[in-house]
Amino acid sequence: MLFAIKNKVIPVLAVVSAIGFIWYGFTIFLNSPWQIQNYEKSSVEWSFVDLAKDTMAHERPILPAPHQILSEIWQTTVKKKVTSKRSLIYHSWVTLSSTLMGFFMGTLMGITLAIFIVENKAMDKSLMPWIITSQTIPILAIAPMIIVVLNAVGLSGLLPKAMISAYLSFFPITVGMVKGLRSPDPILIDLMKTYSSSRTKLFFSLRLPSSVSFLFTSMKIAIAISLVGAIVGELPTGAVAGLGARLLTGSYYGQTIQIWSALISAATLAALLVISVNIISQLTFKIMGMQR
């Protein structure tokens, strides 16, 4: 156990400190032209230490230093009430709720489509091209249309954003699930035939359980892109809440620190979501007796 932790922690720490080191380097490098200009304007003497210190203290830096972002995140999470419009937790929750809703819709839709495709030859031929085409259209192009159309029929708020997440996330689920439902060894299908098994029993006893590991792999991808979908869905609406909205207002006013802290929050959220799916999948495998 201790060995395992040591084996994991050290490489992670090494990577994190390397990224931090490079990041600080770029912070100084990218923010220095403006800072130097400033020094020259007010004709002050400056050393490299001054430059390093000052480039990390800009209010709207080109690239904020990691500690600036962390302090902004601290200020807008721990130091703010979660109901406040300036709380990152509030905004994360707004995005998270539509992510989860979209993810569940997409998963349900993906599984349903996969079942149709596997169980019906005609569906296999007719559905798959449409499903693939649906993913070749850039989401940025259809997101505003989905929002506008749904708004016109009186749907606004959570559902339109969730629809965009669902639109993105059903695809990996369908593809993975089709593969999973078709994954049983031919010998097992033959075995079921010798029992003269019905199609339904074949499905529930063999195809469905065989697809579980494929489903979870797809769900890990689907939940991450559901989050992307939810954020993209917040951009064209001029939404006032959500991580997407934070990104948008941040870029209106050149609040780079705010943008970066929203980005970091989104990344953290994505990691947490994928980890949650992973934990659920491990538990499922344990219950199914498939862990080794």
């Binding site: 060894d185 010998i187 097992l188 033959d190 075995l191 079921m192 035939k193 010798t194 029992y195 003269s196 098994s197 019905s198 029993k201 006893s205 063999l206 359980p209 579980v212 199914m288 007796g289 498939m290 080794r292």
Partner: protein, 264 residues
């Protein structure tokens, strides 16, 4: 000799042919197969790989359709025999479902065939006992050795009490010691249950040790070259394999295999 009197046909094949159409031409997997398997027979199919042993069992189980000729199983077409669940099939690999425990695997056919929960439990217990896997009910397939997995798959084929067992090289992947042991157990089981067994093998001693009838086959095209009725006594300790009679039968099988080899 008693069997010959009260013989009832279990499998009857007449001029059976099966040709696989593949991209690089036709494969004549079974050519003019004439074979009678009677109730209580233990029939071994032996021959080099590609001679159609598996294909023949698959035709019996209606997993393949013959191109020509006739075949009946318990006097019925293979399709009806399958509907009636007339046989248990043991594949070359254990073919256990990884997410089911051993007892859940054995109850799979019972669930599908709609046996009551009580009956399922009873039959699973009985057959786990029969193949000597008591105590491993709750284990999952990956926790068992290859030999134990194969025994579980035999228990599964026995669970619904079909009178005919089709076994395709069930012990092919096992080492010789485990194999000897399972051969003894299978023979015991056959005597106890009076089932009819069709058994595919690569091994001459295995075929001679187990069978009342040995079908020697030859490839390209797959056909029967010899059918040997064994008159070894039904009581067969493992050391019967050193007896004169045993060696004579083994000799004849070997000759059959060699001749078919020379023809090619």
């Amino acid at each position: 000799m008693k069997q010959a009197v009260s013989s009832k046909s279990v499998i009857s094949a007449k001029k059976l042919n099966l040709i696989f159409k593949t991209n690089d031409g036709a494969v004549h997997a079974l050519k003019d197969i004439d074979l009678e398997v009677e109730e209580g027979d233990f029939v071994s199919f032996i021959g080099p790989s590609g001679c159609g042993k598996t294909t023949f069992l698959r035709v019996v189980a209606e997993l393949e359709k013959p191109s020509d000729g006739e075949i009946t199983v318990n006097g019925k077409t293979p399709k009806i025999a399958r509907k009636d669940r007339d046989y248990g099939y043991v594949f070359q690999a254990p073919a256990l479902l990884q997410w089911r425990s051993i007892s859940q695997n054995i109850s799979l056919p019972l669930e599908i065939m709609g046996y009551s929960k009580n009956e399922q439990k009873e039959r699973v217990e009985k057959n786990i006992d029969l193949v000597g896997l008591s105590g491993f009910e709750k284990k999952f397939p990956w926790q068992l050795s290859g030999g134990m997995q194969q025994r579980a798959s035999i228990a599964r084929a026995l669970a619904f009490d079909a009178d005919l067992l089709l076994m395709d090289e069930p012990f092919g992947a096992l080492d010789e010691i485990v194999r000897d042991h399972l051969n003894e157990q299978l023979l015991e089981l056959w005597k106890k249950t009076k089932k009819t067994i069709c058994f595919v093998t690569h091994s001459i001693p295995e075929a001679v040790y187990l069978s009342t009838k040995i079908v020697v086959m030859s490839p390209r095209p797959g056909r029967i070259t010899d059918i040997i009725h064994s008159d070894l006594p039904l009581k067969r300790p493992l050391n019967i394999r050193e007896s004169q009679k045993f060696l004579e039968i083994a000799q004849r099988v070997r000759r059959g295999l060699r001749e078919s080899h020379l023809e090619n």
